[in-house]
Symmetry: C2
Subunit: 426 residues, 2 copies
Amino acid sequence: MPDAVSLIHVKRDNARPLTGPEIGWLFAAYAAGEVADEQMAALLMAVYLNGLDSAELRAWTGEMIASGERLDLRGLDRPSVDKHSTGGVGDKVSLVLAPLVASCGAAVPMLSGRGLGHTGGTLDKLESIPGWRASLGNDELLRALAGVGAVIAAAGSGLAPADRRLYALRDVTGTVESIPLIASSIMSKKIAEGTGALVLDVKTGSGAFMAQREAALALARTMVALGEEHGVRTRALVTAMDAPLGRAVGNALEVAEAVAALSGDGPDDLMEVTFALAGHMLELAGIDADPRQAIASGRALATFRRMIAVQGGDPDAPLPAAAHRQRALRAPASGWVTRLDARAVGVAAWRLGAGRARKEDPVSYTAGIRCQAKPGEYVRRGEPVLELYADDPARFGPAEEALDGALTIASEPPPAAPLILDQVGG
Amino acid sequence: MPDAVSLIHVKRDNARPLTGPEIGWLFAAYAAGEVADEQMAALLMAVYLNGLDSAELRAWTGEMIASGERLDLRGLDRPSVDKHSTGGVGDKVSLVLAPLVASCGAAVPMLSGRGLGHTGGTLDKLESIPGWRASLGNDELLRALAGVGAVIAAAGSGLAPADRRLYALRDVTGTVESIPLIASSIMSKKIAEGTGALVLDVKTGSGAFMAQREAALALARTMVALGEEHGVRTRALVTAMDAPLGRAVGNALEVAEAVAALSGDGPDDLMEVTFALAGHMLELAGIDADPRQAIASGRALATFRRMIAVQGGDPDAPLPAAAHRQRALRAPASGWVTRLDARAVGVAAWRLGAGRARKEDPVSYTAGIRCQAKPGEYVRRGEPVLELYADDPARFGPAEEALDGALTIASEPPPAAPLILDQVGG
């Protein structure tokens, strides 16, 4: 019979891959309290530094899925397809994409987590809509999917509970940024939610979790392989996250921008990423439809409104607005914006109150940033590039500090930079 | 201010050495419960895999020393010098060496731990003497040192308590076998005990913790440097541990062999190692004396008897003997013993009851093994090379399994193998 210290030794020494039965024993013993948190922490660090090969990762992910329930969406009258983003600044794509793809005939079971750090969380954004609630029981979820076609909700505690516990442990033990551990965490939840197909938006650049494109590509490949191995048709796009996506960063601000996008008035970069992802989702779902037409016809917006209403939200209620506004990041010279650092803007929005440092922290729905100018646009000397919003004006100072050096102005416009960098799978 | 996750990241990524203040914060926060066991476990694995440089190790060891009291032996009327062995099979050198060197005029403050695994612990051996107790208060310790000159006792809980906690954590997290962590664990306790000089016996070979000579040498160099940095004159010998040292393995059996050695009747290999270590100890202590003469005159044995008596032991009481004996490991052919595997003999003695698997387990004082033949000696076909002793005859079977393949017989005697392999320092 395996024991924890022996398995830690195997991974620590990179002696050989852990076997499926060993990984199965490990998860069972961890769940039973026979493997302690400190033992799992040591193993996670060894995994961080020595990796998991594809067979180990398949078994590891399989144990995370098997630790909980797996939803069955095959009873729906349409194909299911989901999207997951690794997180970016101003990334409100889910809010647009879920109703958009649903309005084209797919079921989109988008079970999601909370935001942590400088990238926002989809649930936090939707909670800025008066009355909207994130938690749904499995029955409610299936009813919403059958009725509206799209649901964005909190992943229930029954889905991959081993991932929940491991993620909390990784968070405090410095073992978050590991490609196999990230891949298994994301994919275990997506596979357990029962989606038939999945498109991944793996962000890369200063505002992304994976700053380096090669690392983002490796993560994309790892996740696509995991999805396919578990019977989920999976594709990934690697997309640029060097500047905020769209102009709004912050919960209610992003909801407003998403509604504008669904109304046909979305910013170009947001729409480019949204339509690219929608195209792949529809293709994987086997649906021949034009997402642009779904927006132009108003069907996507109507689906969004029903999706909000079904979870108690009032789509006609005004969104909350911040008490204070401050202009920031004035252009030091007239010229073209060549860089507006996504990470700096994300950290500033976080400091304004839009994000949380610890998972038990509350977020402000109104805090955030609007970008008056983005890369490729011309600004005059002294013109503020950002508008900051906060309920507490004491937050403006620390936010502005985060923005130091975030802007680059040049006398020539920057070359066109592609947003969609790579495709994996399909 | 540092935080645990950031320090883990630094070590995980091998980004730069941790600073002294960072290591100081880490130990203080761990003691205060602000750094959790799982965080320390992840850091220990990162240290295991990425190492500690000499400045980090000096600071790390310094924090372990500073976590408790540091004894002051400078009030004694003679120089203090200690010996520490990394542990071997049949290694009863301490029992002979402490009274021997004390009888030559040094003070030997030998504070020791318990045995774990297949190597025995000095305290376990002495506890087989009726009445003897391992625990002494600091006052008793100093009185014994002043009176007898040698004391072998349990290291009190006040010495390097951070090491005690870290060692327990390393034991369950697969992070024991790390040269910097072993070196800091050993040296923090030896420096805290206040000895003015120290000779290290770093064992290498099948029966040693460090099977590879290069690793043993690296550990020896690391410990000598740490000792010198903290003001303790330190030397190390790397010695062979391929076969049991002497003929006795097991607690009371080893005490009897040590008494024989102190009476001038010790096995050659045991005496060679003992005299080599004694010579270095006396040289470091600045004492010009002949340890052979101390044995021949009976002074060393007299000191042993007083050392035992001062801790409640009766040096005249008969040692306990096992209820059952079994001959084992019969020679498959007549010839010369060229190999008697130390590790196999150690594991067999452990299974007979001489050692413990967990630190809370009891040990049997009587269980053990006597080697009737050792490498370099001639045996006849069918002759048993070992005698096994146990209180419970059910233990003979598992012990004999451990001995499978432990013996090699050849038609020629083996070449003479040196016991003292390397010297570091001095």
